[in-house]
Symmetry: C2
Subunit: 344 residues, 2 copies
């Protein structure tokens, strides 16, 4: 790929009502910036697309401030140092950064992780060895506390979080039941990832199927979607169950609460009667200090094949809006990454 002379970037053009549409985004051209003393110029190679981005497009209160209209869409990136006036980085270094949806970015080193000159699989730092893998690892092990012989259910079973949760569950000796969208993903979860079962959430009788697949109830439900999957899970939760909540992708496009009856008292009553722990977490806020522990275990597991990882790579920054819209509908298969530029 020849080097651009301008910096293509995608900004938030307008806030979505419900599902985002392509006209919520705008592709712009800007000059490639020059690094000042103490700065590096980064060229983005990979951009991560993740469900949380939907939240940043809204101005409703959330755990992070919204992207402002006309401003750059945020996102985790892996790129290379194009030129450096910073003592810790040299040309050609791979770095994990948070450059957002653009081809070039300046950094003073804040929040950068240097991956060195020849990392084995640099894009993995956006997935199984990065935020999604870390989310799976801490949420399952610290809040979920799975024990051998217990039943673990995880939705979005072939996504970067769910696939990792399920495989760690198998390493810990659990019966693992996944829920995913479509036959192909379900087959992959069982045949490739080693899940004991995987159900298609599009099936009209998914609640009955789940009850059959969990004859001893559910001890850990790793919540990353909400909605109908949770409705099917709730009556199956065992006494003493743990429910880490890392995402509710099924709700992100909702503009109002669903119709009644109001099941808030039902949920609280279930937590009480069954002595259930339900806990939300935001990975770097709650567990940032334990990244080293994760990195060590996960590098080993990925290295020796205990944990498998699948990426869906799409070429071209201009494809990012459509890819994110598809992600929120569950159309991707594996970790969604945009290849923004060449890797050499």
């Amino acid at each position: 790929m020849s080097q651009s002379t301008t910096n293509s970037r995608i900004v938030l053009a307008s806030r979505p009502q419900g599902e985002p549409t392509p006209d919520n985004f705008r592709l712009e051209q800007a000059p490639i910036p020059e690094p000042a003393q103490g700065q590096v110029l980064l060229r983005t190679v990979f951009l991560s697309l993740d469900p949380y981005m939907r939240g940043r497009m809204s101005d409703a209160p959330s755990y992070a401030p919204p992207v402002q209209i006309g401003e750059l869409m945020v996102g985790g990136t892996v790129g290379r140092v194009l030129s450096s006036k910073h003592p810790d980085y040299r040309e050609g270094d791979w770095v994990l950064s948070y450059s957002g949806w653009q081809q070039y970015a300046l950094s003073d080193g804040t929040g950068l992780t240097n991956l060195g000159q020849t990392p084995a699989a640099p894009s993995y730092a956006l997935g199984v060895l990065g935020m999604p893998g870390f989310t799976a690892y801490m949420g399952l092990l610290d809040i979920g506390q799975p024990k051998a012989g217990e039943t673990l259910v995880v939705a979005a079973a072939t996504g970067p979080v769910g696939a990792t949760v399920g495989q760690i569950g198998k390493l810990k000796g659990c019966r693992v039941v996944g829920v995913a969208g479509g036959e192909e993903k379900c087959r992959y979860a069982v045949e490739e990832l080693g899940f004991d079962a995987c159900l298609d959430h599009r099936a009209p009788d998914v609640a009955e199927q789940l009850a059959k697949a969990c004859p001893a109830g559910i001890d850990v439900y790793f919540e990353n979607v909400g909605g109908k999957v949770f409705d099917a899970v709730l009556p199956l939760l065992n006494t003493g169950a743990r429910v880490p909540v890392c995402g509710l992708v099924s709700q992100y496009n909702a503009t109002e609460l669903p119709a009644g009856p109001d099941r808030l008292p039902l949920l609280m009553g279930t937590l009480l009667k069954k002595r259930i722990r339900m806990q939300g977490f935001i990975i770097f806020d709650d567990y940032g200090h334990r990244f080293g522990e994760f990195w060590q275990d996960m590098s080993r597991w990925v290295g020796d094949g205990s944990i498998k990882y699948r990426e869906e790579m799409i070429d071209g920054l201009e494809q990012a809006p459509a890819a994110l819209i598809g992600l929120l509908k569950g159309e991707n298969f594996g970790k969604l990454v945009i290849r923004v530029g060449a890797d050499d």
Copy 2:
């Protein structure tokens, strides 16, 4: 009080629909049983009335099996050994037992706690030094994890659990805001128990009052009532808040879910965005092994006046149904105890 020649007992006559009524109970007479070898005959002196009893009157699934129609109402009791054929008990010993709503009971020692011949305040074993106190202690300290300077909110603030929660919170340096039914209870919480504020949940603007009383938000909400108090608490919960759930007395008489919209997704979204831990617990199931730790701390606190305790004592087993019905409406003030027999 002269000794009876028969055993008065109250059984469940029928299951309540919504609020219990007097005809759900029936007073019966039975012969006083004779202890066999290895058994003791107990004479009930005090019967504890507690909100959980409403749950046992229903046949809906709960954390404990329901009382069957025609069977004895269950309940914690303190009584004396009338005659003993058990090596560990002698006549006149005070014991904590689970004899239910009756004057006499046999026991083979299972579940009995010997309080000795001259306990200082035997009925306290049903309250601040027993199940309600233990519930307050473990729920607040283990799940709630209050830190000095944080804001703790507790409902049913003058009940045996709530009053103890709030006072432990003060010992730990929290700002403590209670919610109770009526001016008199609120005054007691502030003036006698040392709460920083206490709001009347009957006030139409209780949500606004709560927001004003918690200018830095809520870090720990000790949930023992549910309903409108929780609705007022939910938007005030801080990031990282903890919500131990030990009871939902406002829901116990409900026969169906409230009208919509369905706020289950709202609750889960709040848990996620604010990284909140919400956890139900049943005190002896979850924490039975830590009773000694509680007993030591609480005996000291009650002994030195750090924790105050109020009982509402009602004479006569036949008063128990009306007293329980009143309890579920919040009519009692302090720990409700029925004096079933003489204490000599």
